[in-house]
Amino acid sequence: MTAIEVPEVDYTEYSNRQLVLVPLAVLALAIVVIGGWYAVTGAPATLGLEFTGGVELRIADDGSGDVEERIETAFDREPDSIRSIPADDVYVVTFQAADDDPDGLASDLQDQADAAGLSTEAIDQVSASFASDTARTAIFGIGLAFLGMSVLVFALFRTFVPSIAVVASAFSDLVIPVAAMNLLGIEMTLGIVAALLMIIGYSVDSDILLNNSVLRRTGEFYESVNRAMRTGVTMTVTSMAAMIVMAVVATLFGIGLLRDIGIILAIGLCADLMNTYLLNVALLRWYKFEGVKR
């Protein structure tokens, strides 16, 4: 039996312009989606509890069959969402922060749940002002990580075009998952922030591999690209498999943090495949055959 091989792509059939077109179009689309989201909702993504403030309760399903109806009637306030997690026998009920009366909301809700005979397994309460602080910290953290990565990449390669190719594809790798989240209706959570930071670290790997193969190794350009691609695609697909499995299993069990990290990394790595082997390759080819001569 032969091993599964990464297919070789004949890049000579496509011009640089053609190669760059797809990733740039996707990036533009993603930016439009995020921009539109910002214009309509006032935030670049649908913000989860940790960024808006509110209360999330996990209520045990006692098997009586009418828990969902009881949840709907138990609280004075209308829950913003009720999700069922069958594998864990719980319902996740969320309430957005009330502007009028944030005080004691979590305690009130717990009392109301107790009064209705519902047993709460977990309560998360985030106040609105803490949430906005968290959002600022998260943006700051992502910005800092991206900046640090960019500086490091420039220090490693010391040439402008190959370095900017890595930074550009990393940027696109960050933006595309956020746009995808909006379209899929996934809320921005702390887990997603962690995943975005992880994308900065992960996605750069295959770009570095490609640049290293083309710039620092002897051999013909297309041979170098294909060699890097064989390794790089294996890496990325392996990581994607792990993340998809993690997302699926964690969704079944209702572990939000692991699910969020899994989904976003899977999308980010997918975007990375496209950006590395279309955008980055095209930029490198231009640099190798035309840019250097100037």
């Binding site: 091993a3 717990q110 962690a194 570095i208 498999a241 499995v245």
Partner: protein, 536 residues
Amino acid sequence: MFERVKENWRVLLLVVVVLGSTVALFAPQFAPQTAPGESQGDATQGITNLQYGLDLAGGTRIRAPLLGYTATGVSFDGENPSQVASDVAAELEDTSTVDVNAVLNAEGGSEVEVTDASVSESEFRAAMDASGYAYDGIRSGVTQESRDAAEQVIQDKINEAGLSGGSVQQVQSITGEYFLLIEVPGQGRQDVIDLLEERGTVQIAIAYPNSSADDGTAVEEEVLTQDDFEDIGTASRREGTSGAYVPVSVINEAPEGETSPAHRFQNAATEYGVASTSGGARCNYDMEADALGEGSDSCLLLVVDGEVVNAFGMEDGLARSMASGGWADSGNFRLTTTSFADAQTISINLRAGALPAELDISGQGTSSTISATQGENFRLYSAITGVFAVFAVAGMVFLRYREPKVALPMIVTALAEVYALLGFAALVGYPLELAVIAGFIAVVGTGVDDLVIIADEVMSEGEVNSRTVFDSRFRRAFWVIGAAAATTIVAMSPLMVLSLGDLSGFAIFTILGVLIGVLVTRPAYGDILRRLLTVR
């Protein structure tokens, strides 16, 4: 022999790390420390020495700021801090002196805080302006001293309640605001809030010489109880001395026909010889014997939950104003001590568990509670998730290489990395949380990535038949791995220090995993691969 060790030292290092992790995970010497009154079995969760955080064991985490405003860089114009505090308080309606504290620090770092939650920032600003003291600016939050006091109060309460593993610490957000982070395993949200709001009983008694008693001491109980105090300030330093004091004020108003607490205290102090027209009592109380020492005057006793925690005399000026009957009109006095630490203890005791400022949980804080059963479920589920993720990686690697010689060591090496991280967690007692588990899975992902780079690089361009060929290829692969590791570390390091939920655990373990990978496991995989490929 020595040659072989030298040749395979990378593999040996990996073996040593794995053995070390096994010891850290299972040896009873590394078991978690027990809290007072807790058996070893209670402290150890499961068969390993691993400790679990709140989301995997159940418990409550509260993160909230202390309410108040602080004026920074205040110029005291040579006044003493208490004068400054009372000047500022005078400009605030319905706010007594003890809700305003002034802290004298060197080099323009002096601060004035207001801990009355009903005072708004603009009101405080107006009061500062009206008081005439120059200041740099106003920030929300309280002073370092008050935060430390609050932290101490909460820690004491957690210890007293015998809640093992409970902790409190100060964390700072990027906007510079301070939060108290309180974690109590195994307790529900309401239980913890009740604990934070609970107060012990405090009273002030007077011990006076009585020759008919066995130990020569008689005690007049409950001269003041905690309900008699209007306010209790935070400990302050006395200027120019090493001493300190706690400002307190006693209620000096009473309904018609009754004596106010302040008047009652004044009368008792005079009656039992603490205060007289000639001056105040010099106290020498023997805490061991619970009696007045040799030649001691009467003493004021601070009694917390039935136990005498401190005894003190009275300053002459105060004593004279008590003896003349004028003191009760204001009701303010200072409990003086010889050290700042004592003053802090007294302040905390007098408050009997009340925090120096209000902990704003619902307004600006977060809280999260997970029941023990839910925590245990999460523990199982996250383990299952991790195992599935590893299977996915293993499956992909086998599909790609179809050669157990390459793939199997890859999986084993990646797992060794996680095992080493678990050992590290057990060694330093870092509690495992969902975020840490996510970090483990990320480590498996990056780890295998790098092993793929090594394998592909080594096996490219035909057979590996000599050590030199192998080494040069391995070194080439390592440049990429090193660069990739560096970017991951750079990308994750902000998360390690920023206060973003419990994500610092994710960052710490991802970075640690990358480091162990680059320094130990990936070189070892190279050696294993070399043996398998070059030795026929």
